[in-house]
Amino acid sequence: MADVVIRAEGLSKRYSLGQRERYRLLRDVISEAAARPLARLRNSRSGLNGDGSAHRQSHEWIWALDDVSFEIKQGEISGIIGRNGAGKSTLLKILSRITKPTKGYIELEGRVGSLLEVGTGFHPELSGRENIYLNAAILGMRKLEVARKFDEIVSFAEIEKFIDTPVKRYSSGMYVRLAFAVAAHLETEILVVDEVLAVGDAQFQKKCLSKLRQVGTEGRTILFVSHNMAAVRGICETGFELSEGRIVSSGEINDVIDRYLSQVITRKFMEVETPSFVINDVSINPLGAEVIKTFESVEIKVVLTAKKDVGDPGMYVGILTSDNARIAGIDFKDFAHVPPIRAGERFELGFLIDELPLLGGTYQLEIHVKDLSHHKIERVGNLFQFEVVETSVYGGRKLDAWFGSVGLKATAIQKLPSVSPNLDEVSTTLR
């Protein structure tokens, strides 16, 4: 049964810059047409670039997908990851036939259901019941099919009491639950799912994930896009990473994700400056591993150049959560003294941290550089993001945000009730 059901060959999609998501007024067309001969005139007079810079400007292309080929087998649950703008959405749009490729093709065997958004076509004035039928029809479900599954959908969404209320009166949570419930009952052989799990409360998200996982066990093929790495790991078996419209890695999902995350850390660094220093580089690297995992040792390194003579250099590094809550801070002066540095000299300060206790998630480094001889503390304007990979810290499962940011070195203890003699008597008399 390991047939290929999705096959993409040389798939490319080109957008003209500015064309994407933008409509034009007739006025623009007319003014462009009027400007063209003028521009040509100007170019021919300057005589430098014959092809005309104005001409080239109006034909600037961007390849959102560039020669992408892949195969997905029946029953495979595949994840697509990548940074924003890597081409994931474009690929999904082509897969769901919303837009056409510029080159190449995709062959799909079986009906395709796509879920690029929850609640597409929901109308606020209509009741929950009416919206179920409408939304289902939009997603390509038959009326009979919906009628058969109606109760199941309603109970999955947990909105039994409000089924005949217009959805504009729903809370946002109810709305999302209903929308996902309809989509989750789509019975196509291939299911294409975009970031739909970013909505709803944690508990409902969990329910959605397990629903998707269950769908996967039914032998249906799923393509799943998400920024939530824990979700991708939890659902998918295989996957690939897109970057600038190309597939840069593919294979077993954990490998693909680990590689992706390690890249996120070592991505291009832009120099920043404070009044007294230039920060040439900031890095946080795991020791002897590719990615940062909970309780692994890491090395934080900051490369600096002094802009003027600094009598008593110092540095503070803070670790913040992605919403800027401070988790820890560490100051160099509590460890060692740094000799004076002259203007233009380059040096490096850093810390070796044993067993970084952070759980999986995105964190930020905050850096202050100091000249203690002048009592100057200069905060570096940028925060530096890094990623800790979800691991099974306490044993079996991988921990999510529910367990907070910090891992604990813990041992379980238990005192079980000892068998009381009285109870023993009771049981014997009963016998």
């Binding site: 096959r7 409509y23 082509i94 897969l95 837009t99 056409k100 062959e107 065997e109 939009i138």
Partner: protein, 283 residues
């Protein structure tokens, strides 16, 4: 690649997504498969049309009735516009109904693609479903007002002849005209939002070149063929002929109208199908 399509086991449909085709065809089988969506979108438009209004569907009657009163007063009584020997109120009302069906269908279908951007950019289905459902959803209003027309006809003691069985054909012609215009304008409006402003003007202008307030018998004989290039001439005169039994110069004018509608409709279908492939990219 051919080997794949030949070895399809079971009955799983094989779908190939390729770059746009310059000469698109109309896939009627696919349209038929999406008939339920057409039904639900039409039903949605009807359902929400009079939500949160006090008078509800009464609006379907109020609008043409008031138009009729104004027309009867100004054109019939004061300007003494001839009405082919038919009492002016029923003469005007009989034309106002197909006219309103047409006018609302044109503006609804022309705005339908932009109004349904959310659907177009997120889900696939034959885009034709959208303007078609916009045209269909005007039918309910028409039938509600039609009841009033029937009452009015009996009030004036007019007995419709056999021609009455042709009414559905003229309704179809009115909707065909509206769809033809709607296809062109909706596809254009995806790229050029100017269309939105054109529609209001177009519909107003069109009312004057359609024999709603006056009979087409006031048009000089030699100009009638040109006049009938406006398909609504055939529709309106056809309605009068079918229901009131009298009409000026029907005959050949209807056939001209039908011809014009067919040409614009097929042209519109082709243009729509061709633009359809880019809707999601530029809307």
């Amino acid at each position: 690649m051919d080997s794949i399509s030949s070895q399809t086991q079971a009955s799983l449909p094989l779908l190939r997504i390729e770059p746009s085709n310059r000469w698109p065809s109309i896939d009627f089988r696919e349209l038929w498969e999406y008939r339920e969506l057409l039904y639900f979108l039409t039903w949605r438009d009807i359902k929400i049309r009079y939500k949160q209004t006090v008078l509800g569907a009464a609006w379907a009657i109020i609008q043409p009735v008031f138009m009729m009163i104004v027309f009867s007063l100004f054109f019939g009584k004061l300007a003494k516009v001839p009405s082919d020997g038919i009492p002016y109120p029923v003469f005007a009302f009989c034309a106002l109904l197909p006219w309103q069906l047409f006018a609302s269908a044109v503006s609804d279908s022309s705005n339908s693609l932009v109004g349904n951007q959310g659907l177009i950019t997120k889900v696939y289905f034959p885009r034709l479903v959208i303007p078609v459902s916009a045209v269909l959803s005007g039918l309910l209003d028409f039938f509600v007002a039609f009841v009033v027309l029937v009452g009015l006809i009996f009030w004036y003691g007019i007995i419709p002849g056999w021609g009455i069985i042709a009414v559905p054909a003229f309704i179809l012609l009115a909707m065909g005209t509206a769809l033809a215009v709607g296809l062109w304008l909706s596809a254009l409006s995806v790229q050029y939002r100017d269309v939105r402003y054109v529609i209001g003007f177009l519909v107003q202008f069109w009312l004057f070149v359609t024999p709603v307030a006056y009979p087409s018998s006031i048009i000089p004989e030699q100009w009638r063929a040109v006049y009938a290039l406006n398909p609504m001439v055939g529709v309106v005169e056809g309605f009068r002929w079918a229901l009131l039994g009298k009409s000026s110069a029907l005959g050949s004018m209807v056939w001209v109208s039908v011809g014009v509608v067919l040409i614009t409709l097929f042209g519109g279908l082709y243009y729509f199908r061709r633009m359809e492939q880019q809707f999601a990219d530029i809307v």
